[in-house]
Assembly symmetry: C2
Amino acid sequence: MTGETPRTTPSRDADRVHRDRGAADRILAESLIGHVGALDPQGRPVVLPVAVAPDGDQVLFHGSTGSRMFRALASGGPMCLTITHVDGLVLARSAFESSMNYRCLVVLGTAQVLDGAQKERALRTLTDHLTPGRWDSLRPMRAKEVAATTVLALPLVEFSVKIREGGPEDPDDADWPVWAGSLPIRVSAGPAIPEPGSEQRMAPALPRALR
Amino acid sequence: MTGETPRTTPSRDADRVHRDRGAADRILAESLIGHVGALDPQGRPVVLPVAVAPDGDQVLFHGSTGSRMFRALASGGPMCLTITHVDGLVLARSAFESSMNYRCLVVLGTAQVLDGAQKERALRTLTDHLTPGRWDSLRPMRAKEVAATTVLALPLVEFSVKIREGGPEDPDDADWPVWAGSLPIRVSAGPAIPEPGSEQRMAPALPRALR
């Protein structure tokens, strides 16, 4: 049990809450993007999607040095990173009991700016998370490209996981004459679309999220 | 052109920005969830997923009256709702030019609490967005269920849309010997899993997001 603070104690559905790092790690392993919440200069929330990758006890993400949000986060602003996998629709016999199956990781805290060797290693980790083993085959990053990128690490310290799975839970309505059950949702990769000249090369490996 | 304010002028990739309601409406039509950013009592951002549905000039979402976030939003706190469809991985010959294809709608503002007939109509809209035509076949909502639900409407006034599509744009690296192209990503429904006794009934209609 880690990461428990008043902020990471969800106010609803305590039976769906998990606090172990394993649950967080499994969500991160299958992630493509997360949604980052930060504050604008007036202290209002702004939410933007970012590519994410797990890296031990932290979550990595990156963006342009020119991005307003990345400048706010790099200067130590408070943030929230939320990663949600929607696994299905739960269709009960009433609207009230209908729901979704999902796995959601919420991480709160402050990000650290990575530099030097840590930054380059993190860029490799981000690339290889989305396309396993691809980094070594790519044209190496140039110094000016590295300089134009802000790489941030959010510690996996204050976090919570909420998971809902299974069918509807509405035994009192079992006789209501409507189809009930669940509808699984799957995220998958379509056939790769090669650039001209690329057809004869080996297509890239798929990330866990798309396998 | 609507919705343009300093806050909705993205700081990067101006060529990917759209401001027409049509672009926003197309993203909403295919949405299952969005990520809501709100403030905790200390003014720090918190991001949680919610089911969403378009409703004319506003976006609907709902949650428990017991939810801390919904209480903060119902009392007029500033919020951001971000809906992101990840359409593919863009695999350039360098890490720097690699990207994702996506469609992202960001809506800023303050939500309105719906009550009475508006609230019940919004609950129908939310249900029928995820499962077209299902509301009329469900066991009707009870007064106490309606009372336990907060239904919020966020005006589609201050918003921006960012879209990236197509293959990599790295002509200077065209000779680098690695596969390059894009990998489409698709969200789809698996075979429905009926509850016992439901097998003989007609399975529900799929939302646009899963067709």
